[in-house]
Amino acid sequence: MTADRISSTFARCRDEGRAALVTFITGGDPTPADTGAMLDALVAGGADLIELGMPFTDPMADGPAIQAANLRALGAGTKTADILAIATAFRQRHPHVPLILMGYANPMIRRGPDWFAKAAKEAGVDGVICVDIPTEEDQELGPALRAEGLHFIRLATPTTDKARLPAVLQGSSGFLYYVSVAGITGKQQAAQASIEAAIAHLKSGTDLPVAVGFGIRTPEQAAAVGTVADGVVVGSAIIDIIAAHGAAAAPHVQDYTASLRAALEQKEVAR
């Protein structure tokens, strides 16, 4: 099945004895025209999965770095149509790299969930992460995504206890994104021991791969998390590079991504 790039990518990384590298950038940052080159740099640097952020005026779960990226993207006139065009072009250049749209509910449902799911599917997107649609409000987007064969990737957090976990997993597919810090993006990193305990807890409820994100900035941190997780998500640190270098950021993004990938490859995935 060609559609399931996400599962096959996690399987391949597992075979290679390492965690998958999941990278996030905000679509349209610094401009829609520059985003393609940034995505190519991520792939060239060794990113296994790509999360493409859909900019929103009110990114409530994000820290200063990604807030600013959202504002830069919107300030550059980024529209939903641009995000879909960026995804479509990416899919043509990279037929096998999983692409996930990540963002907030309102831009996703504005034209109706069916419209969004269909447009995302046509653009070659594999899955969607929506910060503010928890399981309880699944009807808002979940059925439309599943009808198009798209993964609805859910977030688990330090507050997702044993009683709560089954609810989070319900209707969840692709992988499980573990937000390792109760807080916003780009801030402090969780203690390694707490991440290990959380992954054991999540694995007791699901066979889905678990990717860990929030606060991972250095190759060393990525390597450490990579020893216990199926995937390591890095976002704000890449956004900082784009903020510093603007349209000329691509080579820097590639170098940084390559350093993360190299760090992951040096470690065996403990199972």
Partner: protein, 409 residues
């Protein structure tokens, strides 16, 4: 009629939301997963508090002896005569401690926070009224408190910033976005998500994730319950119409809710039309917005075709928000409440008229409701009765009004 009666009555409009926090298609719990367990816990605690006579007793005690309730339902004779139509009664929320209806809700929520063992309070504020009310109850209960306020609002509302500080609150100026109420709420949510273990978020209006719209409404419904008793005493019957201004909509739902099942009582909510709906610079979410998701609930929002939230404008900082409480969105869609726009200019005129005719300086928020009264009352007979919610006093607004009138003070 008590709450229990309405819950058992078939076809009641007072039994919303459903058990998932939905008012028709609106409301709900659209929050990050980190907050979900907390919100479910809050709901459970609120149900328990509601069923606990001691909680109700403490709430009522504080409303009476600290807030100063019941406040009067005052027959505005000169205003009624000037307009030449219906008899106009003012529900005097502006006489509450801290000068507005906001304190009713803050008392209820701080009691919940105490009950839940929370040791830190946060809140968002626009003009500063909810911030002052929150800082007030935090001082009373000796709980540390941080108020998030847009940096632009901090500049515009220095007296309230100073009040909050006098009351012992930390005021954090929010530099993100347009640096106003919406951004303050984003920042309060960011703080909450990072401090879930010890922090209680006192939301100031009937918006946010379930159960906030419900519990804020319940705490504010004291306004409508008192009004029912007072109008029965004064006139021996229910009013023909209720009018209140709607930003998020807490003063309005507080007045409206106890009357929703009284079919003969017409209900009008007043949205801020800013420079006029046609200019695009307004805060009228129902008249000029579309359903969408923001700040934990689904409701009418000011937004563009891509779902990006657009900036609201109103001369009244308390109405300057691009959304509206989900119960109002629902009451609009089912046709139970009519929502009418009133411009900055109309509100300013009504503000001045009430000062001169009744010796009451109304808040600019409440002045929007008064402007609607001025349009509607003359079309009604002298035997008709309108109750308008005078939700706050206007002392805080005199600088804004002076500026708008070209007066330097």
């Amino acid at each position: 009629m008590t709450m229990t009666d309405s819950l058992t009555a078939p076809n009641s409009l007072r039994t919303q939301p459903d058990d998932r926090g939905h008012f028709g298609q609106f409301g709900g719990r659209y929050v990050a997963e980190t907050l979900m367990p907390l919100i479910l816990d809050l709901e459970k605690e609120y149900r328990a508090a509601k069923a606990d006579p001691e909680f109700e007793e403490e709430f009522q005690y504080l409303l009476r002896h600290y807030v100063g309730r019941p406040n009067p339902l005052y027959y505005a004779q000169r205003l009624s005569e000037e307009l030449g139509g219906a008899k106009i009664y003012l529900k005097r929320e502006e006489l509450n401690h801290t000068g507005a209806h906001k304190i009713n809700n803050c008392i209820g929520q701080i009691l919940l926070a105490k009950r839940m063992g929370k040791t830190r309070i946060i809140a968002e504020t626009g003009a500063g009224q909810h911030g002052v009310a929150t800082a007030t109850v935090a001082a009373l209960f000796n709980i540390p408190c941080t108020i998030f306020m847009g940096a632009l609002d901090v500049e515009r509302q220095q007296p309230n910033v100073f009040r909050m500080k006098l009351l012992g609150a930390e005021v954090r100026a929010v530099e993100s976005g347009a640096r106003t109420l919406k951004d303050a709420m984003n920042e309060a949510l960011r703080d909450w998500v990072a401090n879930v273990h010890d922090t209680f978020y006192i939301i100031g209006t009937v918006a946010g994730p379930h159960p906030y719209p419900e519990l804020v409404r319940d705490f504010q419904s004291v306004i409508g319950r008192e009004t029912r008793e007072q109008i029965m005493e004064a006139e021996g019957r229910l009013p023909d119409m209720l009018i209140a201004a709607v930003g998020g909509g807490s003063n309005a739902i507080g007045l409206f809710h106890p009357f929703l099942d009284d079919k003969d009582v017409e209900i009008v909510g007043v949205e801020a039309a800013g420079y006029g709906l046609e200019t695009g610079q307004h805060a009228a979410s129902i008249a000029g917005g579309f359903p969408g998701i923001l700040h934990g609930n689904k409701t009418y929002l000011l937004q563009d075709e891509d779902g990006q939230i657009t900036e609201a404008h109103s001369i009244s900082a308390g109405l300057d928000y691009p959304g509206i409480g989900p119960e109002h969105a629902w009451l609009n869609d089912i046709g139970r409440v009519r929502y009418e726009p009133v411009t900055d200019k109309e509100a300013l005129e009504a503000f001045q008229r009430l000062c001169r005719l009744e010796g009451i300086i109304p808040a600019l928020e409440s002045s929007h409701a008064l402007a609607a009264v001025e349009k509607i009352a003359p079309t009604m007979g002298k035997d008709k009765i309108i109750v308008v919610n005078l939700s706050g006093r206007g002392d805080k607004d005199i600088f804004t009004v002076a500026k708008a009138l070209g007066v330097e003070i």
